[in-house]
């Protein structure tokens, strides 16, 4: 009998040993972290995952000797993880591609204010959180793309005009599950109030060329396929398509014109990717250094142009392609309102039946 009990115990011990062995490894890692803490490491939770980001982190390490440890994931899930980890979290900096998520991080009390003259100099005030909890790093506009053959640019004016009778069955946009649409509607809630925002959403649903499906690029393709004539898309997707490895995608993009709506009224909707220092950060100074590095002119150029985005640093010119689209007037609202109205916008989408 003892023999069998022994077997089971041995098995359990084996499993525990496997876990324990791992824990030991962790131990040595954390020990080295203790000794070098505050000087040699910064832990980044990021929802932005372009290959060029890794190159920038490597460059940062080269310049400062600070190693950037990265966990890449989806914004909401990373936030949830930081929240659950509480005071013990390893995260120092949280980076994501939507102002609404930055707002939520702040609202959930996960970020801390940081002040740095360099950051103030490099990031314009309207792309910073009012309490300096987060800083924008790149920006993008949500614009109208139109079929050069069937639509003249002078037919277009505003987002609101797309709900007119004339566009019935011609408008393309992706599902309301996507955060860019939620932020767009949130901006209308901020500017025009809930009632009008809801009217706009209902009017859009009414004019849909088809039930929303696919991503932003798919809306452009649907124009080429003749399913609709105008699409609402983020600028960088248009940039990506123009530079695609697939000649067919380039052809589609070349058939499209870009239009910045609401130039005579409230301005085109813009959103940022940005980052904030985590409240329980143990390497705060390093996190600030990384923020400063990413908003400095050298990094801004690569950081923004990698994804055909606009740099936030005003001393940096956008890439040639973006310059060719011309300058434009942006919505003049605090970006945190995109987050404040996020939940409201989802409820509206559900109510008007925007899939």
């Amino acid at each position: 009998m003892k023999k069998y009990l022994f077997l089971v115990i041995a098995l359990t011990a084996l499993i525990l040993a496997a876990c324990g062995g791992q824990a030991k490894e962790e131990k040595t890692e954390s020990e080295t972290a203790t000794e070098t803490n505050e000087s040699k490491e910064v832990n980044l939770y990021t929802a932005r995952h372009y290959d060029v980001d890794d190159e920038l982190y490597a460059k940062f390490e080269e310049e400062t000797g600070i190693k950037v440890n990265v966990i890449k994931g989806e914004a909401d899930e990373l936030l949830e993880r930081i929240k659950r980890e509480g005071d013990a979290t390893e995260a120092d900096l949280f980076l994501t591609a939507d102002a609404g998520r930055l707002y939520r991080a702040k609202a959930d009390d996960l970020l801390q204010p940081v002040s740095s003259d360099l950051l103030d100099e490099q990031v314009p005030a309207n792309f910073q959180d009012t309490d300096q909890m987060w800083y924008g790093l790149t920006k993008r506009a949500r614009v109208i793309l139109y079929d050069k053959e069937t639509v003249q640019p002078d037919e277009l004016s505003t987002y609101e005009a797309l709900t007119e009778e004339k566009w019935n069955g011609r408008v393309l946009i992706r599902s309301s599950e996507n955060v860019y649409n939620q932020s767009l509607l949130a901006s209308f809630i901020e500017i025009d109030g809930e009632e009008q925002a809801k009217e706009w959403a209902a009017g859009m649903v009414n004019n849909f060329a088809r039930d929303p499906e696919g991503g932003d690029r798919d809306q452009a393709k649907a124009i080429a396929a003749g399913i609709g004539d105008v699409a609402i898309m983020n600028t960088y997707y248009f940039g990506q398509m123009l530079n695609s490895e697939d000649p067919e995608e380039v052809k589609v993009a070349e058939g499209l014109g870009i239009f910045f709506p609401n130039q005579d009224t409230t301005g085109t909707h813009v959103n940022v990717s940005g980052a904030g220092v985590v409240k329980a950060s143990k390497n705060k100074d390093n996190a600030i250094k990384l923020l400063e590095f990413l908003s400095a002119p050298e990094a801004q150029e690569t950081f923004a142009s990698a994804n055909y985005e606009y740099p936030v640093n005003e001393n940096v010119e956008p890439s040639e392609l973006l310059q060719s689209w011309g300058e434009f007037k942006e919505q003049d609202i605090p970006l945190s309102t995109l987050g404040e109205h996020n939940a409201k916008s989802i409820l509206i989408f559900n109510e008007v039946g925007w899939k």
Binding site: Q22, A23, K27, K72, E177, Q240, E245, N350
Partner: protein, 543 residues
């Protein structure tokens, strides 16, 4: 007598501990059922919930139906008849499992879209401008097609092994009695292979219920959509967990139905040497039809998407950094191998417990561990993180004593990720092991016990050798699933830890499906190798 009793206890104790540990994180979710409903919940109920549920039901029912139709018909052809290329198709038809459904979904959409190879070729080479709406795969039927194509091997592989080996004598008897093939199929094959069909189909159903990648991209709103909408959109994790708990309740219902449908199992081996079924040769158009059918399915579910991925890899070659790819391969294989090994060991213990224990409750207990497979990965992730942080807090005094600088040790290590995999994929391994135990029945064990061998000795000397096939098939299935897994790996990985699937997802989520092709092909390649190895092993076992 006392001797035997204590042995059972040792197995029982470890089995109950495993079940408890696997179920523990799910408790976070179960408690969600009892939180009072808030405004968001009411809103969801009023506007969207019923529509989402309807979609989910149609999606799962249709996927189950078509996977059974295709999986079982192929299994039957391969098990019963001989036709050209049968030998090749027999293992090649498992290959579609190696393609992650979300990659399949992106690939098919890429091919069928306006800029895809099909419409482009028609336009440019034949001057045909067919209504692009005909090529639209991004809808509910499209999602059913994707699930059917990339999940039917679950039904096929289990049913095929079963039909070729298990049912040989029964089917032979029917033949001798002069029944035609259709009658044989409906009156004998279908009833006796019920267990294996249900085992395969329930994996399909669970997989469809927890998937988010395919339906999100295709714009099909399901129950999972509701979970993520309340969590991410409304920032209301309570409603999200409440929804997940309801989903879990639904899954428990399915599992109970499955158990009832399995009913009294009475078709276990009657001799240790299982005779394979003698094949009926097909000729002429019948042979051509059988081969053709196999190849049509194989092309749709494997050859065509892989060819497209290869094409994209060539197109984008050199545009993305490849230097770290060996590392991704190493990481992927390491976590998949470790998780699969642990799952099989646990499943063997729990499965052995399940067949020894008497009483309904005891039989049902192991089924609880299967729950993890039904819940969307992101929700499991939260449950596991919560459990581990609790554990770390509990261990904090020890950490302090040991001089650690941080109080989060386990929850930032790979232990977290591997545990989550085990909770998530235990069902897959357990299903194989349980089917294996079912197949060998209890006669041999009872004989061995009567002859005086203890439970543990019987297990290693009598059961294990007969279980080899089940162990390896379970291992391979889990291994492939971990390799393909995405939400858990994304959320729970330690710092600077990338796998092939996180890499593929990284590009795909940015709508860069062409750039995702390299990593996808590597996932498919490694999984395919594992499948080939499995097949070769089975062959040797049978001969």
């Amino acid at each position: 007598m006392q001797h035997r009793f204590t042995n059972i206890n040792a197995w029982t104790v470890s089995a109950v501990i495993i079940i408890f540990l696997l179920f523990l994180p799910n408790l976070t979710i179960v408690t969600g059922l009892f939180t009072p409903s808030n405004e968001n919940w009411e809103h969801m109920k009023e506007f969207v919930l019923w529509g989402f549920m309807k979609n989910s039901l149609i999606l799962t029912a249709a996927s189950a139906f078509f996977t059974i139709l295709i999986g079982l018909s192929l299994a039957w052809l391969i098990a019963q008849y001989d036709f050209p290329m049968r030998h090749f198709l027999k293992w090649a038809l498992i290959l579609p499992l190696s393609i992650p459904p979300f990659i399949g979904a992106y690939t098919y959409h890429g091919m069928l879209s306006y800029t895809g190879v099909i419409q482009t070729t028609l336009r440019e080479n034949f001057g045909m401008a067919i209504n692009p709406a005909y090529f639209d795969i991004m809808n509910l039927p499209g999602a059913v097609f994707i699930y059917t194509m990339f999940l039917f091997p679950y039904v096929y592989s289990i049913a095929q092994v079963y039909l070729s080996r298990q049912s040989a004598s029964l089917i032979e008897s029917t033949r001798i009695l002069g029944k035609g093939p259709w009658k044989t199929f409906f009156q004998v094959v279908l009833p006796i292979s019920r267990i294996s069909i249900i085992a395969g189909a329930s994996l399909v159903v669970l997989e469809v219920l927890n998937d988010y990648g395919v339906v999100k991209y295709y714009g099909v709103q399901t129950f999972t959509t509701a979970i993520f909408q309340s969590w991410f959109g409304l920032g209301d994790i309570e409603s999200a967990i409440k929804l997940a708990a309801s989903l879990m309740g639904f899954v428990i219902l399915i599992l109970m139905i499955e158990k009832i449908l399995r009913g009294r199992r009475q078709y276990s081996y009657s001799s240790t040497k299982v005779r394979p079924l003698p094949l009926i040769p097909l000729s002429g158009w019948k042979a051509a039809a059988a081969t053709g059918y196999g190849f049509v399915i194989l092309s749709l579910a494997f050859v065509i998407p892989v060819a497209q991925l290869i094409d994209w890899t060539v197109l984008t070659y050199g545009t993305i950094p490849m230097g770290e790819f060996m590392n991704y391969v190493k990481n992927s294989v390491f976590v998949a191998g470790l998780s699969a090994t642990l799952i099989i060991v646990f499943a063997l213990i729990v499965g052995n417990f399940a067949r020894m224990v008497r009483g309904r409750l005891g039989k049902l207990l192991p089924r609880l561990t299967v729950l993890g497979y039904s819940i969307p990965g992101a929700v499991i992730a939260v449950a596991v993180v919560t459990a581990f942080i609790g554990l770390d807090r509990f261990l904090t005094p020890f950490y302090v004593w040991a001089g650690f600088s941080t109080t989060l040790v386990l929850s930032v290590s790979i232990v977290l990720l591997v545990t989550a995999y085990i909770i998530r994929f235990f069902a897959i391994g357990y299903n194989s092991i349980e089917t294996g135990y079912d197949k060998i029945g209890t006669d041999f064990r009872d004989a061995s016990r009567t002859l005086g061998l203890g439970v543990t000795k019987t297990f290693f000397k009598v059961d294990m050798p007969m279980m080899k096939g089940a162990i390896i098939s379970g291992f391979i299935l889990v291994f492939i699933d971990v390799l393909k897994e995405i939400p858990l790996t994304l959320i729970l990985r330690p710092f600077n830890f990338d796998t092939l699937s996180t890499k593929a997802f990284q590009y795909a989520s940015d709508e860069k499906i062409m750039e995702a092709s390299q990593a996808s092909l590597l996932i498919i390649g490694i999984s395919a190798l594992a499948i080939v190895f499995f097949y070769k092993f089975l062959e040797r076992e049978l001969d």
